[in-house]
Symmetry: C2
Subunit: 536 residues, 2 copies
């Protein structure tokens, strides 16, 4: 957007959803500042930028990108388009990354336990403390952030993985600030600065997350989410500010996604509490898959110390000590040996026991937390079925590249199957999951070993090798759908059957007239066979 | 909702979209208040109601209705269901209003120019100053408001018109207050009370409007909007608070509406400025129609005095005076007659002219505003095509009842047509507007006079009378679709045609086997005719 846009024009900007705003003199406004001053009878505003300049529209997420001049704004638009298919549901624009980056390389940057870091480094890499380059997950230089001024506790953008464009969403793990300006029209207003903790969804960052998913969906991009959320902020302000509505929008956005979605818990990251409501493969099992970094990722509703405080209370810890600690066991034995009337000796031993318990408690508490945390490891997440598998972080780039390529090929094939079924009324059309199951059954006809279906490179190679075969199979499938269709229409009973039968036969006659003599001869022969068949 | 709901449960409540909350001890929360206190290390909250009680969830629009106890909550839910079809796209539950109200009665309540009033009286009626009943637009006692605690500058609910359930949205014309509570967790926070002017959309009321449209759509209700908006609030606070996003949601909500939508400008009401962005029949021409109250409704982008100040500036007014005012004309003549050197006489006349101009100006300014307002009357709105027609307010109930019945019948018929077309691939399916045009062409076969298509009672009577006829026409239409379908598949060329032809013939053979001997004989005869036809 260059120059200004007013009223209906401002709405057109928003309805277009993707806005690039120039940093100066390009306001997006509903009413000019002079008109508002006139309405209020006081000269409150002095420029339109106070109403809809980038100072207003970038921090509130109406403008996705801000650029200093026309040329850079146009360049940003072209860059943006380079991630997006040229038509809806068209081929993804895959770029050649030779000379820029490699597909099969380890990831250089790794977060450290308990050390906050800029999450962009996970995606794009960066220099370490001594100025050495540490590569990130995506192709070098391919990450472009959008909506960066709004709701900074979540970072969204587009990037390339081995040349394939993707949408990406990642949690900010550091505390961010949201600044709400003071409207000059309200004399009582003052600028408000709100601290927003990392790893937590607030109303604005939940809205931004949902908005980004919707933007990526309408750009037909595959999506990866690097998830590190302890949940949604549930204090009074955020509850009043409709966090429940914006969190729900994330679910709604996932439900309509059609391209592959990977949710990945990176090293030392976690998904807790309410975050599970919106991050779960079952929200849209057609497209969503969950993964976690090997060893260090964590997932569970309660955090480990919360779980320990509920499941392993102090009295349980003390019982465990008495079961395991040799000294306590011997003191217990001494106590039991003391006669009922030796009150002094009893108190003495009881004092020793209490001292020992007190000394051991902090250690046992830590062990209890550790024990609870064992329930939240990638291994457990896999065992209870919330993730597909764990992935070694250094190898995540290669893993997701092949996974993505395989998923895209599989999705393409299953789309062909579903479209084939839509030749008919679509009554017998398979769901995406059923279509994948049909493809899997074809795969097993050619390959032994059930595990191979999860080997992305093998599946890709099979698809490439059997391309002609698969096309034939889809054609046969299409024919069977047409057969079912015709049978269904003709034997439906009542008017549908009567009208359907008449329509099919009339259509046959009309189609015949448009065929070459040879084709006609062939079709007539087939019809004669039917007439002469012994069915009546 | 009774009892409390926490975390994932709270999200389920919101994802369900329609919430009835009990006034006491039924909070909707993400995290319990004790857990939050523990997290912050201070006892900030003392009950869960501070986080998600009706004091939070009713003013923010998560809870639609608040009820004092379980029984009344269940009753409210049953009442709500009484407006909604028992299945999606099912028959609307139309109630018998005999003994309660009459369809063909005038509306008792009429707003007065410049006098603010409770907009609910327009819908539901009410007692006047002397306690006399004044009826409203809808059936007596049928209006139920929802989301009443949230964004009070717009009123939404469900009501019945001649027994037919409808969603309704009406502008508040009085100033409302929005109270934002002070979060005890933020020591600097204080309760904020924001005055919101009537007839203006704010971020919250735009969101509420969009939300209500979406709710009604998913309940398959027809919708009427009593529109009285001067536009969207465009001050800094509301621009920062994303009014553009929420206004855009209204457009998105209309786009997917499938039942009839009437937008009606009631007496002395107006649509101005940005309100036209979201209230326009062209947003969804399949279902939307605009109307205005005869005589007193107004519509235009600029308000009349704004238009006058732009289009009829002071210099234009003065020119008009000199053209029309006899005294000025004679002074002009005197001035012209004065010789070039008689400076004294000239100044004298110029003074008279200036005095006369000054005296006339206020009158001419009023006339200019009046003149501009003439461009905004229902007559002009009809002439430029933004409304269908004007409607006498007292007769609006009867008019919209018949219009609604006719539209529902027409929509039902066109749905049958479109579904008939979906028997095939849907390639040749008509749009809703094309389907209406097909029905209109059938109507004209039986009726003379093009205007009659706009006479709702005549069209309804025709549909009832020709019911069997119309069914036959739809069957013929279905058959033609099947014919086109078969021809298209068989003559598409390439693999599609080969596979399609084989499928159709195989389907024919298979269907034959399932038919009775008589049916078989019939079909075989038809096929024999095709084989023996002279096409090859």
């Amino acid at each position: 957007m260059t120059y200004s846009t007013v009223g209906i024009g401002a709405y057109l900007v928003r309805l277009g959803q993707r806005t690039i705003q120039k940093t100066s003199s390009s306001p997006i406004i509903l009413t000019g500042y002079q008109a508002l001053n006139k309405l209020m009878g006081v000269d409150v505003y002095s420029t339109n930028d106070q109403l809809g300049g980038p100072g207003i529209m970038y921090p509130n997420g109406v403008s996705h990108i801000v650029e200093p001049d026309h040329l850079s704004a146009v360049k940003a638009a072209v860059d943006w388009l380079s991630y997006v298919p040229s038509t809806r549901a068209g081929l993804l624009p895959i770029t050649d990354i030779r000379g820029v980056d490699e597909i099969e390389r380890p990831i250089g940057f790794t977060p450290k336990r308990g050390v906050p870091y800029d999450p962009r480094r996970l995606l794009a890499g960066g220099d370490d403390d001594v100025g050495e380059w540490q590569s990130g997950f995506f192709d070098r230089g391919s990450f472009t952030e959008t909506l960066a001024g709004w709701a900074k506790t979540v970072v969204v953008g587009r990037a390339r993985l081995g040349g394939i464009p993707m949408g990406v969403i990642i949690t900010e793990n550091r505390t961010a600030e949201a600044v709400k300006p003071a409207d000059p029209a309200d004399v009582k207003a003052s600028e408000a600065v709100i601290q927003e903790a990392g790893c937590v969804w607030f109303p604005n960052s939940a809205y931004k997350t949902a908005q980004a998913i919707k933007d990526f969906r309408t750009e037909d991009l595959p999506l990866i989410i690097f998830a590190n959320w302890r949940g949604f902020s549930g204090g009074q302000r955020d509850m009043f500010d409709e966090v429940l509505k914006y969190g729900s929008l994330i679910v709604d956005a996932f439900v309509s996604y059609e391209q592959p979605v990977f949710v990945f818990i990176p090293p030392f990251a976690e998904i807790r509490g309410g975050a599970w409501v919106v991050l779960d493969a079952s929200i849209n099992a057609n497209v969503m898959e969950m993964y976690a970094a090997k060893g260090t990722a964590r997932g569970g509703v309660l955090e480990a110390n919360g779980a320990a405080s509920v499941k392993y209370r102090t009295k349980d810890l003390i019982a465990t000590m008495h079961r395991l600690d040799d000294e306590l066991k011997s003191l217990d034995a001494q106590l039991a040996a003391i006669g009922g009337d030796n009150e002094a000796a009893r108190s003495q031993v009881e004092l020793f026991i209490a001292q020992r318990e007190k000394m051991l408690l902090p250690v046992y508490e830590q062990i209890a937390v550790q024990f609870c945390e064992l329930h939240d490891t990638p291994g457990r997440m896999k065992a209870v079925g919330v993730i597909e598998r764990d992935v070694e972080w250094r190898e995540a780039r290669s893993f997701f590249y092949w996974r993505l390529r395989r998923k895209l090929a599989e999705f393409d094939l299953r789309k062909q199957l579903i479209q084939a079924a839509e030749v008919g009324r679509g009554i017998v059309a398979p769901t995406p999951i059923q279509a994948s199951a049909i493809i899997e059954s074809w795969f097993h006809e050619d390959n032994v070993g059930t595990d191979l279906w999860n080997d992305d490179k093998v599946v890709l190679a099979w698809m490439a090798e059997h391309y002609a075969d698969l096309e034939k199979k889809i054609l046969t499938y299409t024919k069977n759908i047409v057969v079912q269709e015709v049978v269904q229409v003709m034997t439906a009973g009542g008017n549908t059957a009567r009208v359907g039968t008449a329509g099919i036969i009339e259509g046959l006659a009309m189609a015949l007239q448009r065929m070459s003599p040879e084709e006609q001869q062939q079709v007539k022969q087939m019809l004669t066979n039917i007439v002469n068949s012994g069915t009546s």
